[in-house]
C-alpha cells in the first residue's frame, strides 16, 4: 500500500468515516464553493479617506515609510528623491510591469532603471502592488511574467507603488479582488503579503530591522489628488 493510501485509510478509520459518505463529500464541496467569510474586524470598514489614512498609520507603525503623490507621472521623481535622501546610487531594479513601464522614468535625469529579476548587487527594487490592506498596513503583490519575486526580497530598499483606489479595508476584500483577477481556486505562483520591512528578534528578543529581506520598505500612494500630503 502506498503512503497515500495508508494515511488516508488511517484518517478515515480514526474518524469512523466510510469511503463514500455522500454527506461528508457534500459538506466539503459546499465549503470550498462558498468559501464563507468569517469574522472581519470592523477596524478597516471606513470611508475611503479614513481607510487610506488607516493604511498609512498601520504601515508606519510597522516601520514602513509612506508618501503620497498626485499622479502616476510623479512616481519617478518621488523615487529619485527617495534615493537622494538615503544617499543611494541612482539605479533601481523593477519588473516589466506595465503600470510601472507607463511611468515617465526618462524624465528623471541620470536614473538607471534595470528590468528583470533582481540580482544580489541591486540596492533598490520597485514594485507595483495589487492592493493595500488598511487593517494591517499590508501591501499585496503577485508574481508573474512581468513581476519577479526576487525584486521584493533581494534589494536593501523596497519601494512599492500603491494606487489609493486599491487600498482595501481588510484581507478578505483583497482576496476577493485576487479571485476576480485570477479566477476562483486559481492563484498566481506567488502572492506576497508584505507588512513592513524585514526584521528579526532572534538575538535577546531585540527587534532589529533588515534581516534577510529589505531593510527599508517605502510605500508611494498615488491618490489622484484626493488625499494629498495633507495627512
Amino acid at each position: 500500500m502506498s503512503g497515500r493510501e495508508a494515511i488516508l485509510k488511517k484518517v478515515r478509520g480514526a474518524l469512523g468515516a466510510p469511503l463514500d459518505d455522500a454527506a461528508r463529500a457534500k459538506a466539503v464541496r459546499q465549503r470550498l464553493a462558498k468559501a464563507p467569510t468569517g469574522v472581519v474586524p470592523a477596524r478597516g470598514r471606513l470611508p475611503e479617506e479614513e481607510r487610506i489614512a488607516l493604511f498609512r498609520q498601520m504601515a508606519e507603525k510597522v516601520s514602513a515609510t509612506v508618501e503620497h503623490v498626485k499622479k502616476t507621472g510623479d512616481v519617478p521623481n518621488a523615487v529619485a528623491a527617495y534615493l537622494r535622501s538615503k544617499n543611494l546610487p541612482a539605479s533601481v531594479r523593477m519588473g516589466g510591469d506595465e503600470r510601472l513601464r507607463a511611468m515617465p522614468w526618462g524624465r528623471v535625469k541620470a536614473l538607471e532603471t534595470k528590468t528583470g529579476p533582481a540580482d544580489p548587487d541591486d540596492e533598490v527594487g520597485v514594485s507595483h502592488a495589487l492592493a493595500g490592506i488598511a487593517e494591517t498596513g499590508t501591501v499585496a503583490l503577485y508574481s508573474g511574467v512581468e513581476n519577479p519575486t526576487t525584486v521584493n526580497f533581494l534589494p536593501e530598499h523596497h519601494i512599492v507603488v500603491v494606487d489609493a483606489k486599491d487600498i482595501e479595508g481588510d484581507l478578505e476584500t483583497t482576496l476577493s479582488r485576487l479571485k476576480k483577477r485570477f479566477g476562483k481556486g486559481k492563484m498566481p505562483r506567488t502572492l506576497n503579503l508584505i507588512t513592513g520591512p524585514s526584521r528579526s528578534g532572534d538575538i535577546e528578543q531585540k527587534l532589529l530591522l533588515g534581516a534577510h529581506g529589505p531593510r527599508a520598505l517605502h510605500l508611494i500612494v498615488v491618490d489622484d489628488g484626493r488625499i494629498g500630503n495633507k495627512l
Binding site: 468569517g38 469574522v39 478578505e172 479571485k179 492563484m187 502572492l191 506576497n192 534577510h212
Partner: protein, 478 residues
C-alpha cells in the same frame, strides 16, 4: 533528534542552576507576554476570531481525508508534486531522493519545526548533503550543534555574548578585531554570510503554516525574509508539512492568520505572508523549476478520534510556552524533544510515546494560563491530565508515587475517614512548626523543602473553618 525527555528531572535541575540560561529566559518572561496583550487589546474581535479559527480547524479535521485529496489534486494541477510520508523515515528518504535527483550538495532551509521532528539535518549530514539554516535563530543554533529551545524563537536560550563567540569561531575568514558587541552587528554579519548560500543551494526547504485545499497553495508566515529567498532562488522548492496544516479556503487562512501573529509575537500581521502555488510558470523571470510537497503523518492520524484530537488544531504560535511558569523556569531544552512547553507536554507523548515522556505532562502546575491564551482554545491542562491517567494506568510512574497516590485515594474517596485524619493531622502539623508557620524540612517531602519552605496549614481544617464562618454569618443575620 535523540529524545532526552526521560531525563526531564535531571535536565530541569541543571537548567535551574544555569546562569546564562536563566539570564536569557528573562526575556521570555517579559517580552512576549506584554506584546501579545497589547495587540489583543487593540482588536475587539479577537475572541470571536478565536472561536472562528477553532471551528475552521474542527471542521477540517472532521473531513481531513477529503481536504487532503482535494489539496493534492490542486497542487498537481498547478504542476507540483505531492509525496505522502507515513513516518519520519519515509519523509527523510523522499526528501533525499528529491535532493539526489537535483544533484544537490547544499540545501538551504527556512525555519521548520517539522524538519526538526524528522531529524532532517543530522540525516542530511550523514548522507553527504550540507543543510544550511537561514533563519537567524536557527542559523545560530546550527553553528552550536543545538536544537531549538522554542518553536518560534529557537535561540531564545542564548545571550548575545554566546552568539558573538560562535560567530568568531565559525566565521574565521573575517577580520578578527571586528566589532560584534551588539545584536545589530551580529545580524549584519549573518545576513552577509548567508547571502551567498541562497545562490549556492540547489534545493530550498521550507515548512508551511497552512496548506490551502481550495487552491493547492502552501503558506509561510515569517519576519526575516529568509524563507522567501530559500524558496525562490534554488531550482527546487520542497515544502515539508504535516497533514493537519490543511485549511479549506483562503478565507479560512485569513481567520487563523489574525490570531496567529498576535498570539506569537504580538504583531498584527507577520512581515511576510507568502502563498505559493506550484513551480515557476511559463515566462516567469524567477522562482523554482520544481515544487514538491511532502505530507507527513508521523502519528497524527492516530490522534484523530481520541481525546487528543483537539491538539491537532495547534498552529504553533508558542503562546502556551510564553505564558508557562515551568517553561519560564527551565527553558525549552529540558523538555528533551522538538516541542517544548505545554503544547509539547501533550504532543510529545502522542508522537514519541508516553513511556519516554511521562515527565512532561507532569511538569505542569495546571495554572491554566496556556489554555487561556491558546488562540485555538486547545484544552491543554485537560489533555495533560489524560496523559497522567494513561501513565498511571500503564504503571509507568515510580512505585513511591503510585503508592502515595493510592494512599491518598484511600482517604480522598472516603470523606469521613479523610476529615477524621485531617482533623488530627492539621493541628499536629501546625503544632510542630511553632511560631513560624512554615516548614524548612518535612519527612517524605524533601523534594519540596530542599528548594523552598512548605507553608504550614492553619490549625483547623478547611471544613471546620467553613462551618464556623457560616455559623457566624447566620448568627449575624438572625
Amino acid at each position: 533528534m535523540q529524545i532526552t525527555s526521560p531525563e526531564f528531572k535531571k535536565n530541569a535541575r541543571s537548567a535551574l542552576s544555569d546562569t546564562q540560561l536563566q539570564k536569557a529566559l528573562g526575556h521570555v518572561r517579559t517580552g512576549f507576554i506584554d506584546k501579545r496583550q497589547a495587540s489583543v487589546d487593540a482588536l475587539p474581535e479577537f475572541d470571536e476570531l478565536r472561536d472562528s479559527a477553532r471551528a475552521i480547524k474542527d471542521h477540517t479535521l472532521a473531513h481531513l481525508d477529503l481536504y487532503l485529496e482535494r489539496y493534492e489534486e490542486k497542487v498537481k494541477s498547478a504542476g507540483g508534486y505531492v509525496h505522502w510520508a507515513e513516518t519520519a523515515e519515509d519523509a527523510r528518504s523522499v526528501i533525499l531522493d528529491i535532493c539526489r535527483a537535483a544533484g544537490a550538495r547544499t540545501v538551504t532551509k527556512g525555519k521548520s519545526m517539522i524538519t526538526e521532528e524528522i531529524g532532517l539535518n543530522e540525516f542530511f549530514e550523514k548522507e553527504g548533503v550540507r543543510p544550511v539554516e537561514t533563519d537567524l535563530g536557527e542559523y545560530i543554533i546550527q553553528l552550536r550543534g543545538e536544537h531549538p529551545s522554542h518553536i518560534i524563537a529557537p535561540a531564545v536560550h542564548l545571550n548575545k555574548e554566546q552568539v558573538e563567540a560562535d560567530f568568531r569561531r565559525v566565521h574565521d575568514h573575517l577580520r578578527p578585531n571586528r566589532d560584534l558587541s551588539e545584536p545589530e552587528s551580529l545580524l549584519a554579519e549573518a545576513r552577509r554570510v548567508l547571502r551567498s548560500e541562497y545562490f549556492t543551494a540547489d534545493v530550498g526547504i521550507t515548512g508551511a503554516n497552512f496548506l490551502v485545499a481550495e487552491t493547492g497553495s502552501s503558506v509561510i508566515v515569517t519576519n526575516e525574509g529568509n524563507g522567501d529567498l530559500t524558496q525562490t532562488l534554488p531550482r527546487v522548492h520542497v515544502v515539508v508539512a504535516s497533514i493537519e496544516k490543511v485549511v479549506p479556503t483562503l478565507e479560512d487562512m485569513s481567520q487563523i492568520l489574525r490570531v496567529l501573529a498576535r498570539s506569537a509575537t504580538g504583531q498584527d500581521m507577520s512581515v511576510y505572508t507568502t502563498v505559493s502555488t506550484g513551480p515557476r510558470r511559463p515566462g516567469d523571470p524567477d522562482g523554482p523549476d520544481e515544487y514538491h510537497v511532502v505530507l507527513l503523518d508521523n502519528g497524527r492520524s492516530s490522534m484523530l478520534g481520541t481525546e487528543f484530537q483537539d491538539m491537532l488544531r495547534c498552529i504553533r504560535c508558542g503562546a502556551c510556552m510564553n505564558h508557562c511558569p515551568i517553561y519560564h523556569a527551565v527553558g525549552g531544552h529540558a523538555y528533551g524533544w522538538v516541542y517544548p512547553g505545554p503544547m509539547g507536554a501533550v504532543l510529545t507523548p502522542s508522537l514519541a510515546g508516553i513511556d519516554k515522556s511521562g515527565h512532561l505532562p507532569n511538569a505542569s502546575t495546571f495554572c491554566g494560563r496556556c489554555e487561556a491564551v491558546c488562540p485555538m482554545k486547545i484544552p491543554l491542562p485537560k489533555m495533560m491530565r489524560h496523559w497522567r491517567e494513561r501513565e498511571f494506568a500503564r504503571g509507568l510512574n515510580p512505585a513511591t508515587q503510585r503508592y502515595g497516590l493510592r494512599a491518598w485515594a484511600l482517604f480522598a474517596s472516603r470523606p469521613r475517614l479523610y476529615h477524621l485524619a485531617a482533623s488530627f493531622a492539621i493541628p499536629a502539623l501546625s503544632f510542630f512548626t511553632g511560631r513560624r508557620p512554615r516548614f524548612r524540612y518535612l519527612p517524605f517531602a524533601g523534594g519540596w523543602t530542599r528548594h523552598r519552605d512548605l507553608p504550614a496549614p492553619e490549625n483547623r481544617t478547611f471544613l471546620q473553618q467553613w462551618r464556623s464562618r457560616q455559623a457566624a454569618k447566620q448568627e449575624a443575620q438572625a
